[in-house]
């Protein structure tokens, strides 16, 4: 009897702990949403009234929109480049005949291990040498190398357990290599590529540190503007942008879950995102 009590107590404690962790993880995000609709400019409750003025500041005003546009341009180009590079490499790994695969993988994912403040410094030296600092091209080159490992990992995860002999089977049945690739590999790999591209885009879209080193006033990205805003004086327009970013995060989360659902080893992708955070 007492044993049963102990188990019941343990279960209650576990659930209480779980609820506390949910509160800790989600409450901060939830708390800023109402503030972003405040009619006043103070960041405290009770709200003086509701309004959309801070959303107007963010989405109708020049500076915020310009940085959003920069982020979208950099993110899109870097994502395309990273997706092509990462997918090709992931396919090479899936063929399982690369020499020293672990060492090569370790080398290729180094950009997400090295602290971005070091990468940013080095890339600044390189781009200064090439005369590419304060150019869009420079920022894109940097974001591509930071984002590519996430595509590599996500697509590799998708191809894990993929049986390469299926391609040989197709060839023995008379399919050309192209046809075999299109009908066998592409359907398996596509969700992984899309998820990888999503990770890549979010990595670029949230990148501050390296961009801080490389961007001039004309390349200011959204995170850079938010960083400056937080450093100087935090006002509700930042919270409006934060809310907008949370909505984007929720949407990408849903899309990636749907995409990766079929693949039980989807943690690679999730962890890829985890490591995207090294990009701060």
């Amino acid at each position: 009897m007492q044993y049963r009590h102990q188990i019941a107590l343990a279960r209650t404690l576990r659930h209480l702990f779980g609820a506390a962790m949910v509160l800790f993880l989600l409450a901060p995000l939830a708390a800023v949403v109402p503030l972003s609709f405040s009619a006043g400019s103070f960041l405290s409750y009770p709200l003086p009234g509701l309004s959309l003025r801070w959303y107007e500041t963010v989405f109708l005003d020049g500076p915020w929109l310009a940085t959003l546009k920069n982020s979208l341009i950099v993110g899109t180009v870097a994502t395309i480049a990273a997706t092509v590079l990462g997918t090709l490499a992931a396919y090479a790994f899936a063929r399982r005949d690369l020499p020293m695969p672990t060492a090569v993988l370790g080398f290729l994912i180094a950009p997400m291990i090295v602290p971005p403040v070091i990468s940013g410094l080095g890339m600044y030296f390189l781009l200064a040498w090439l005369g590419l600092t304060s150019t869009m091209a420079g920022v894109i080159v940097a974001h591509t190398v930071l984002a590519a490992p996430f595509v590599l990992i996500t697509v590799t995860a998708t191809l894990q357990g993929f049986d390469m002999s299926l391609l040989r089977a197709a060839a023995s049945l008379g399919a050309s290599p192209t046809k075999a690739f299109l009908t066998i590999v592409v359907p398996v790999i596509t969700p992984g590529i899309v998820a990888g591209a999503l990770f890549a885009f979010m990595t670029s879209f949230d990148e501050v540190v390296v961009t801080l080193f490389l961007a001039g006033p004309a390349q200011r990205t959204l995170p850079l503007k938010m960083f400056e805003g937080l450093r100087d004086n935090i006002e509700p327009s930042i919270l409006a942008m934060a809310t907008f970013l949370m909505v984007i995060a929720a949407m990408t989360l849903i899309v990636s879950v749907v995409l990766m659902k079929k693949n039980t080893r989807n943690l690679g992708g999730r962890l890829g995102r985890a490591m995207a955070e090294t990009g701060e």
Binding site: F17, V22, F24, L25, L26, P28, A31, L35, L43, S44, L85, G86, L88, A89, F93, R95, D97, L98, P99, T102, V104, L105, I109, A110, P111, I113, P115, V117, S119, L121, G122, M123, Y124, F125, L126, A148, I153, F205, D206, V208, V209, L212, F213, P223, M226, F227, L230, I234, L239, A242, L245, M246, A249, G268, L271, R273, A274, M275, E277, E280
Partner: protein, 417 residues
């Protein structure tokens, strides 16, 4: 089978054909991985190499005073002053050197001895007033300009600053310096800061990792065993913050924890506190926000590992009469260790290099190495010092990365297994 029945030359031919096709396959794989490999090499490894180079590069004096530099490198650097011709060469070059080069050299020399910058700039202003004289008279003339030119310490500092490459920055990043005899010694007590910063960085990362482990282990266990809506809510609670922009999360915490913030006003309304608590822009705030940022890094590898542990293992241990605690310690815990290793190392590696969040939510005394790298690079434009600190931080990360690769494997660290 075909190979087994083939004989002699035929078998050899078959083996060769097999080998050739294997080689072709491998070549295709290499060509597929080559673009990313080269890209990472050029756009990532080359920059890291440049940081290493910049940590040792020392061009300022050679650029401003090339002949003085070569004359000083010929000086044995013993007690006393360099020979007279050095003074003459230096006086001539100081008068002739372009302003910018002189300023750079002065800045470089100021790292060696504080006050050297003004010595150079004031001497450069007054040097034209010196009448051209015999080399032997130049020493007296310079000393007359500023008596510090008569002190050997300044010439030793100048000699240390003349080679093309210098250990100065990397030594400074470790609170070391070269004395006048060229021996490596500890920096004066009031100038020892960087080892403290490094230790602080490692301490913060260790504490954050430990808190994340203590919270993340039961949370991951709950996620792995819960079912129904509770499991979904837990998963969302871990994943949503994770996908949310780092700056959005940081701003949320600032709003929540500041003096007039939600936490303080809630506590005040409940009558628990009478004066607002200092929850942010200090060490407390740093730990709260960093744990929030890092928790998913810990939870996800743990969750993956725990999900792979069959639940009937614990049941088996219970059916054999083991207390749940004993079952946990001897059956469950050992099987989670790969996840613990991956999560802890990942959390530690990411925290050690963090810069943006601490710079926004911690006090000046809580800043980590990353902050100072950015400070030297963007504020004081001291590339040597920024690079040297970068190398020290990189060394820490590389050691941890290799450790992680050895202990849990690269693939596990990347979440691939």
């Amino acid at each position: 089978m075909a190979v087994a029945v083939a004989h002699g030359a035929e078998a050899a031919e078959l083996r060769r054909a097999w080998h050739r096709s294997g080689q072709r396959r491998r070549l295709v794989s290499l060509l597929l991985v080559a673009p990313l490999f080269l890209y990472v090499l050029l756009a990532f490894m080359l920059p890291i190499g440049l940081v290493l180079y910049r940590a040792f590069e020392n061009p300022e004096l050679i650029e401003a005073f090339p002949e003085t530099a070569s004359a000083l490198s010929g000086w044995d650097g013993g007690e006393g002053l360099p020979p007279d011709p050095v003074f003459a060469t230096f006086a001539r070059e100081l008068a002739d050197a372009p302003k910018r080069a002189t300023a750079e050299a002065a800045r470089r020399l100021n790292y060696e001895i504080s006050g050297f910058r003004t010595l150079i700039s004031s001497s450069a202003r007054k040097i034209d007033s010196i009448e051209p004289a015999e080399p032997s008279a130049m020493r007296a003339a310079l000393v007359a300009l500023d008596e510090r030119w008569g002190e050997p310490a300044y010439w030793h500092a100048m000699k240390r600053a003349t080679p093309s490459y210098t250990p100065y920055y990397i030594l400074a990043a470790l609170d070391l310096r070269q004395d006048d005899r060229g021996d490596v010694v500890l920096a004066p007590e009031d100038q020892r800061t960087y080892v403290d910063i490094l230790l602080r960085t490692l301490r913060i990362a260790a504490v954050v990792t430990l808190i994340c482990l203590l919270l993340g282990f039961p949370l991951a266990n709950l996620m792995a065993t819960a079912s129904g809506p509770f499991a979904v809510i837990l998963m969302i609670a871990v994943m949503l913050p994770f996908w949310t922009s780092l700056l959005a999360r940081t701003s949320a915490w600032i709003v929540l924890l500041q003096k007039e913030g939600l936490v303080n006003s809630l506590l005040a309304r409940l009558g628990l506190i009478h004066a607002p608590l200092e929850l942010i822009f200090n060490t407390t705030g740093l730990y709260i926000v960093m744990v929030h940022m890092m928790l998913p890094f810990m939870v996800l590898p743990l969750y993956a590992t725990m999900k792979g542990i069959p639940p009937h293992f614990m049941k088996a241990s219970a059916s054999l009469g083991a207390h749940p605690l004993r079952g946990f310690l001897h059956v469950y815990l050992p099987m989670t260790l790969p996840g613990v290793g991956a999560g802890a190392l990942l959390t530690f590696i990411v925290t050690v290099g963090y810069y943006i969040t601490p710079s926004l939510v911690a006090s000046a005394g809580d800043q980590m190495v990353g902050y100072f790298i950015a400070f030297f690079a963007n504020t004081t434009i001291n590339w040597g010092m920024a690079s040297a600190l970068g190398m020290v931080l990189l060394a820490c990360v590389v050691v941890l990365y290799l450790l992680a690769a050895r202990m849990v494997g690269i693939r596990q660290l990347a979440g691939l297994k």
